[in-house]
Assembly symmetry: D2
């Protein structure tokens, strides 16, 4: 039982604070003889890196990852992979106020009540900076899953503005600063978010992550459910307040006939008439794409003065200055992908341990 690890057979332990000397992680359980180098990890980190547009924090971090163990002559060895990123731009400033006062909506108060101490510089351990290591671990997870599994994420709602499903274009995702798959929405969002930013305000967002090529059989019937682990993993991302699988909350208003995906055969493999289930039945992957969504709250680091209290129990007012994202949900897209990759890699190993002869596709008859 660890407070800073996730996964079981593919197990990731992260460490580090926003303004400490470095952040890092240990990936334990990675199978041997996979090709892996820093060049396989860096591109994913670059997608998450701050300071790439005016819509994300202006902190300048190259986020250059180093592999310190577990890889030999370009291949994984089966031993723990240690990854480290140095913190470079810990801008010098006076934290006196933030050290004493709790920012509403932040972890400050809860840390104080739990631990009686916290590294208040830039959020310390509760900073979104920790998610860089999730992205790095996710790159290793992709190596475990192999080229047959494709994991992509997109921002599907910014503030009150949702995308049009009919305009979904994966190619568009990398052509705007929002990971938005709807080119029309992306234009509108730019205007919207500029206004939010100028007002010193912030907005929430919804991210969707889709994994294609997932073999059937990942997950377990009761507490090792694939969707339960996904829900826990996505909810563990900073500022997330909700998670959905497949049609999510919309199923409340559906009938059983509408919701249940019908089955047909195609070339000896099960074909589904729809994917309301999001690729998971009874906690186990069915061979359909796995679809998850999560909502990220608007950051509470805003310029509006807010009522609060300080460590001594005195009532105060707080204004949060500094470098912050008006929509932290944007940079959560690669993080969500990474969590999906890690959960799938973990379950792939778990599934293989118990079912070495299971088919890689939804073939029937099974054997």
């Amino acid at each position: 039982m660890s407070h800073n690890s996730f996964g079981h057979l593919f197990r990731v332990t992260t460490w580090g604070e926003s303004h400490g000397p470095a952040i890092g992680c240990v990936v334990d359980g990675c199978p041997p003889r996979l090709r892996l180098s820093e060049a396989d990890i860096q591109p994913w980190l670059d997608r998450r890196r701050p300071g790439q547009s005016k819509f994300t924090t202006q902190r300048q971090e190259p986020d250059a990852v180093r592999i310190l163990s577990g890889v030999f002559e370009g291949q994984t060895t089966g031993t723990p992979i240690a990854l480290v990123i140095e913190n470079v731009d810990q801008r010098s400033r006076d934290y006196g106020e933030i050290a004493e006062r709790f920012r509403p909506g932040h972890a400050d108060l809860a840390y104080e009540l739990k631990y009686g101490i916290r590294d208040y510089r830039g959020g310390g351990r509760s900073s979104a900076r920790e998610t860089a290591m999730r992205v790095a671990a996710g790159a290793v997870a992709r190596a475990v899953l192999g080229a047959g599994v494709r994991i992509r994420g997109a921002l599907v709602q910014m503030g009150p503005h949702r995308i049009e499903r009919g305009r979904w274009d994966w190619a568009a995702v990398d052509e705007n600063p929002f990971f938005c798959p709807d080119p029309v929405a992306a234009v509108a969002w730019e205007e919207y978010l500029s206004a939010v930013r100028k007002a010193g305000s912030s907005c929430g967002a919804v991210i969707e992550v889709v994994a294609e090529g997932v073999p059937p059989g990942l997950g377990a019937p009761v507490y090792g459910k694939l969707d339960a682990d996904l829900a826990g993993a996505l909810m563990s991302i900073n500022a997330v307040k909700g998670v959905e699988i497949g049609d999510g909350f919309a199923v409340a208003a559906m009938s059983g006939a509408e919701d249940a995906d019908e089955l047909r055969m195609q070339d000896g493999v099960v074909a589904f008439g729809s994917n309301h289930a999001g690729g998971i039945l009874g906690g186990i992957s069915s061979g359909q794409p796995v679809v998850a969504r999560f909502v990220v709250k608007p950051t509470s680091s805003i310029l509006t003065p807010r009522l609060s209290v300080d460590r001594h129990g005195r009532e105060v007012e707080v204004v949060t200055k500094g470098r912050h994202d008006p929509c932290v949900g944007i940079r959560a897209v690669p993080v969500g992908e990474a969590m999906m990759a890690c959960v799938l890699a973990d379950h792939l190993l778990r599934h293989r341990a118990q079912n070495p002869d299971a088919p890689a596709v939804a073939r029937l008859p099974r054997n």
Copy 2:
């Protein structure tokens, strides 16, 4: 790493199939010298028991729980508590069709692809019958949490029909067969669900669970987040497709100023101006009520014929007869409460291990 356990320090392992001789669980890690007897557990099971109204399955199960270990002279001993319920009404029938054909929307296909074998009688391990043991374990968790923590659940949406928040009355919950806290809605729901049932159809539902009196400090900063564990626990309930904490998906459309709960002091304890966060900040309880919601899909066990396939890869049609709930979400209310209780009990023990001197309320200054 166990597929059929949840929790770490308060750890529950369940076993049993719908139509086997019995179902049961082992609760490990319960502190010693708590008063506990079957009479403390049975009332919670009775709330979940099938056959209590025409809106739930007509299977007749007394669900009488027996304590087989871990309790001595009316007190817990600190050793594992084994709980068992005999299955009584495993109605004799011909399962030939269900053994061969996969019911759309059910776990059947995914089990077959994973294991190549399944106990098809009444859903086997994937039957909601397993949730009886969660409710039993939840009763033990309530003993761990003590009388100061109050956990209650309610159905807040049935099919497309939501309750009116302004009419919320906890007393109403036990006065209708739906655990509905809105007496007006309850009347309308009765009519609605009767129609669904008569049509051989089904509908989804949303459940809300609220825990009051939760001490601050439960949870951990990154992967041991209280909300992440809650999300995993609630998503592990059969047929759940989404989980929210506090305002959930609604935060996407809010600004940081609207979302962040302001802080004041009241008698040396932090008082919050609102509870958008659902009682959890940065993964750690803040002292406010913990609020979670989850959506349960409409059962796919319906009378409408559906396209499907069988074990041999042949295309077939499936109609699911038998004893089923038109709205399985109803009986998920006590299950959701139980999962909340188990997660909180687990985190209470975890918090205490690392922070034995932490205050039980959000007192400031802390020490």
Copy 3:
């Protein structure tokens, strides 16, 4: 983290007290489609069963095991296997004295100091009765390992009397009441133990367990070492005070040249010149037989009066009457075998998850 479970992928959780209604276990993680019935488990339990000779406790327990879940139509389903044994001969007696007084050398005092409560009847949870469930779980583990892995145990020392290695005969093990592989020693032991028993005294013993046919590659380099897990598993058996792998403590006096097993090739497979290492190199099985030994202390349940204290801190004298084994080490033989089986099954699954293409024998070149 569970106090009453062991193993990770093949995970066993036991419950029950000596004088409660039943004892049981849950085996989680067993692969599907293995043949398993009560008839596969019962014979192993019968070997451990009390009351079979005058040298073991006279408690009469049929130890009839029932499978309550996880097996369907004679095959495992991949879901948790619940096993239960009813306690039958909980002889009625007055426990007043034992309830108050701590027996020297027993767990009584430590339980009191830890929990402030204990089920004192027959040792409660600390009774060797718990080991019946280990033997039952071990039978399931043997099914996982398959017929190619053969696990056998023997008593190699009783009191001060060791066997002669040169007379080791596996066939002799089942022909005396001591699991002694040395037919000559077995005769002498009978006389020795009769005298110990008549004197109301007790003696210790050393057990050796050997697993043949273990595939190479089980274990992990650092904390998941096969020998580390074996040591923990064997030390967890009641009354065990020491564990050795291979030559054990004798290696202290050896030189590197004497200790290191030389390697040759035989038909493409590595052949070893000796087995000082006990089949484990660097924490990983090498393909040689895995050899472990453990020592069981003399039971402190004896007729000799001993100085002690009671719950109230009063100094008293204690004489332990009742049904006890003069040499509890005898019945530890099947328990040691079972623990070896469980550890190997767990590591087989772990190894397979990370290394699906590893060879089943020490073949070179590997691929």
Copy 4:
């Protein structure tokens, strides 16, 4: 389930290879507000550091530890503590031979069979260099245990030469290069080991670790036994082949009356007449000193030519040159202490979680 972590609530994950850029560990679960700095860790590392006498490897490593996270303004914060040591003296050499040939008695062959790849430089992950991080983690564990718990280790046997118990002097331990508590033996050992070293040979050793001031109640009745976890932890140290608690294997030849420690009262606290049990009863600490011993085999890195095989299945001869310790057991003394500290810290937190009101000494009546 992690291959490179140990502990549950006080959880240590290590990473790094002998000749990689660095080695490190993450300590998760450390309580907040403990004083901790590099100066608290470095002295323990200095005791283990290579190159301090002619009897240990001549590799020159300053082993300077850096804390990269989890400590703020001189205090632990409750978040993960990352510790790193750079590898400095990775002497350049030709590993061609060792890359291909398996050294008898080494992990080489087992790694090859498991993973099909290994970092052969200096033993890679199986190098004793990993134990530096155990010592560093042990220093953190000592901070958790506090000043009241004193953990000390000593070499009690070198080759065939045992110490005289009657001459045991803790002060002597730091006055000879062997951690020998018997000043007379230390002189003799110097001569003995010089001869071993000059002969290019090696010898085994036995280490004893004693923890005083351990509170009663640490451990759990069945699989969370304190002695089981100690046995696993000590057996996980490189080259260890046996572990004993208290009188260990000697109990085989004892009677129950000789072995069981009698109890008396002294100032309201239980006093024991002896400590054959090594401070653990029924898996739970009794308040007496916890005593464990383990044996370290002679290194097989010796100058004597040995028969072996290579990766291609060819029979070869191997001579191991390089920098090696003639008695690797010496440097295992601080490692054994560190493992004891880590296990006790873990169990202290586990005990506290379930039993917050348990007494810190063996007081009777308990409450």
